[in-house]
């Protein structure tokens, strides 16, 4: 109380603002220019993914061995029709990046969606019910956490065979423990709060308390963790490609483009650099935007 009195203005919160909290948050978010720019970038990539067939200048899988490793347009030997140059099979890198955004965004989003859903359910159950449920889930989490991530993914990929769905599963199999841990910890803390007790005192069921009272309040750290993990997942997919277990050809994912292009990096830097930059840009934008959203929309972050 004391520090609050000293460091934050002693303003009564009851200011009868004539606007809804949502409008106010939105305005606050809009004022954050960096975050707005990032949202723009993310949207741009999503649009790119959706409208890839209309945007991409070439068929991403059309090979032309005579254009093998053609440099970007501004370098000697480049052509403006192939702005970012061509890869080892003479495919247009720009078009592959545009189409690749579909796969990378899809893998990142799908893995995180699956993992977060499972993680939230498991974490809520462990943190809320405690007892043997918690012991069982926590033990499983321990086991999975102590299992090196890549070896686990490689093992699963080797077991299940190649394929997009299998990649998503192999990554999600372990990914869920991270949101699970976060949710469990937050749930343990939140379940002791008075408003949870109040709901119990009113006769609310466990399901109601978990979903309506606890979940909305722990969602924000989970979302923050999850957006950061999207970056990891996109990079992990790239790592699987590096080890030869990535998405199936000729489908382009940014990760596989970087991974496959690394062999040429000494002479044809563009093959892996442009998709690498695409990963960087998207991941950066997601992170900055999510941070901005959190700052604006989470009541706890407001002064």
């Amino acid at each position: 109380m004391t520090s609050a009195a000293i460091h934050s203005p002693p303003v009564a919160k009851a200011s009868g603002a004539g606007q809804t909290i949502f409008q106010r948050n939105l305005r606050q978010f809009a004022a954050n220019r960096l975050a707005m720019a990032s949202v723009g970038v993310v949207l741009l990539f999503v649009l790119l993914a959706i409208f890839a067939p209309f945007i991409a200048p070439h068929d991403p899988n059309e090979t032309d061995l005579f254009r093998r490793l053609q440099p970007p347009a501004w370098q000697a030997g480049g052509e403006w029709a192939y702005l970012l140059g061509c890869d080892a099979l003479g495919r247009d890198i720009l078009s592959r990046i545009i189409y690749g955004s579909r796969i990378s965004i899809f893998i990142g989003a799908a893995v995180i969606f699956v993992a977060t859903t499972v993680g939230i359910a498991a974490g809520l159950a462990a943190g809320y019910f405690r007892g043997w449920v918690d012991v069982a889930i926590s033990r499983l989490v321990d086991i999975l956490l102590s299992f090196p991530y890549l070896i686990f993914a490689i093992g699963l990929m080797a077991m299940m065979g190649p394929g997009l769905v299998n990649i998503i599963l192999a990554l999600a199999y372990k990914e869920w423990v991270i949101p699970c841990r976060v949710v469990r910890g937050e749930t343990l803390a939140t379940r002791e709060l008075e408003y949870v007790e109040a709901a119990r005192a009113l006769g609310a069921s466990s399901a109601h308390i978990m979903v309506k009272e606890i979940l909305p309040n722990i969602l924000s750290p989970v979302i923050v963790v999850s957006t950061i993990r999207i970056a990891h997942v996109i990079i992990l997919e790239a790592s699987l490609s590096f080890l030869g277990l990535g998405v199936q050809p000729p489908t382009a994912s940014w990760g596989s483009m970087v991974a496959d292009g690394r062999a040429f990096i000494l002479g044809a830097w563009w093959v892996s650099t442009f998709p690498g930059l695409a990963i960087l840009l998207l991941v950066l934008a997601i992170n900055v935007a999510s941070q901005g959203l959190r700052d604006a929309f989470d009541p706890r972050f407001q002064e």
Binding site: M1, T2, A5, P9, P10, V11, A12, S15, Q28
Partner: protein, 334 residues
């Protein structure tokens, strides 16, 4: 240095916070006088600016807050003009502070001994210059301080961490730290609010006792008029960033001049009032952003009139007695 009766003189202090919603005038034209050896009670509810006033005195207002205007004279020197380095030398050595909750104010990761001895190390000028002698002297003095505030077996407890002490003991430790360099002024910010009544009584008594022994001045910030009544020579009542009433404790409590002071006294549930309705002040503290220049208590005052819709100054209402209400007529005081 002039031998003034007044140890601290704050004049027209304005401390503001810049927030997204506008500028908050947390302290708006506050005058404070602390005399040598006295205990001044500062009473007010949350948001009244009582804590901000004294963190301004300590130079502890942090961004987005700042002191907009006013002077803070301590023994004649204007603290607002000191460099951070000079201010550091005054903090702790001349003006010390204790905070409401010793559990949060003591660093959980450092031993009590370390937190006590670093204070001595920073300010005590009577210590040997350096080396083992200094360390020993600091340790001895630390033990002495803990003994002074009534910690049993102080020598062994120096190496313990704050969480290993009970709430009352922690409060004593914080007081020991604050008093270690022998300050001239102790600002005790809600020293007992976090404590149980039986412990509260012990701690307040300790402060009074030490004040008497060391002859220092004490500013006791509290929301509890009972505490003020029992421990303070003078009292200053604050509301919404301003002082509304000031005077000798006995006078203020027995004959409150400002409607807010009256309301505050009326709000205290008392055994003697059982069965009778209490008359609480209606409404709540106004938002401090963009306040019109009128009496700040206007919206809650049972006696408000049209005349209150203007800036109201402090008025003298007797010897050593002032209040901020338009209904009072200014008395000329020599």
């Amino acid at each position: 240095m002039s031998h003034n009766e007044n140890l601290l003189e704050v004049d027209g202090l304005r401390t503001v916070f810049d927030t997204s919603e506008g500028m908050v005038r947390a302290v708006d034209g506050v005058d404070v006088t602390v005399r040598r050896g006295e205990c001044l009670g500062v009473v007010g509810e949350s948001g009244s600016g009582k804590s901000v006033t004294f963190s301004s005195v300590m130079g502890l207002v942090r961004s987005p807050g700042r002191i907009e205007s006013g002077s803070i004279r301590f023994e004649g020197r204007d603290l607002t003009r000191l460099s951070p380095r000079e201010m550091r030398a005054i903090r702790g050595r001349d003006i010390s502070m204790t905070m409401q909750d010793a559990l949060t104010a003591l660093n959980p990761a450092l031993t009590v001994g370390e937190q006590l001895s670093e204070m001595l190390d920073a300010h005590d000028e009577d210590l040997p210059a350096r080396g083992g002698a200094r360390r020993r002297a600091i340790r001895d003095k630390s033990v002495e301080m803990l003994r002074l505030v009534g910690i049993p077996s102080p020598d062994s407890r120096l190496d313990q961490y704050p969480h290993e002490f009970s709430g009352g003991m922690r409060q004593r430790i914080m007081i020991a730290i604050a008093l270690a360099p022998g300050p001239k002024l102790l600002i005790a910010d809600e020293p007992t609010t976090a404590l149980d009544v039986t412990i509260q009584a012990q701690v307040l008594e300790l402060i009074s006792e030490i004040r008497a022994r060391l002859g220092m001045s004490v500013v006791l910030i509290t929301h509890d008029l009972g505490v003020v009544a029992e421990h303070c020579d003078r009292v200053m009542v604050m509301y919404a960033g301003q002082v509304v009433e000031e005077g000798a404790t006995v006078d203020v409590i027995s004959n409150p001049q400002h409607p807010y002071t009256r309301g505050l006294l009326g709000s205290i549930p008392r055994l003697s009032l059982r069965g009778k309705p209490i008359r609480p002040i209606q409404g709540q503290v106004p938002n401090l952003v963009g306040l019109p220049p009128q009496c700040r208590f206007y919206s809650r005052c049972p006696d408000r009139t049209e005349a209150c819709l203007q800036f109201v100054e402090m008025r003298n209402v007797g010897s050593d007695r002032r209040a901020r209400c338009i209904a009072l007529t200014q008395e000329e005081v020599a």
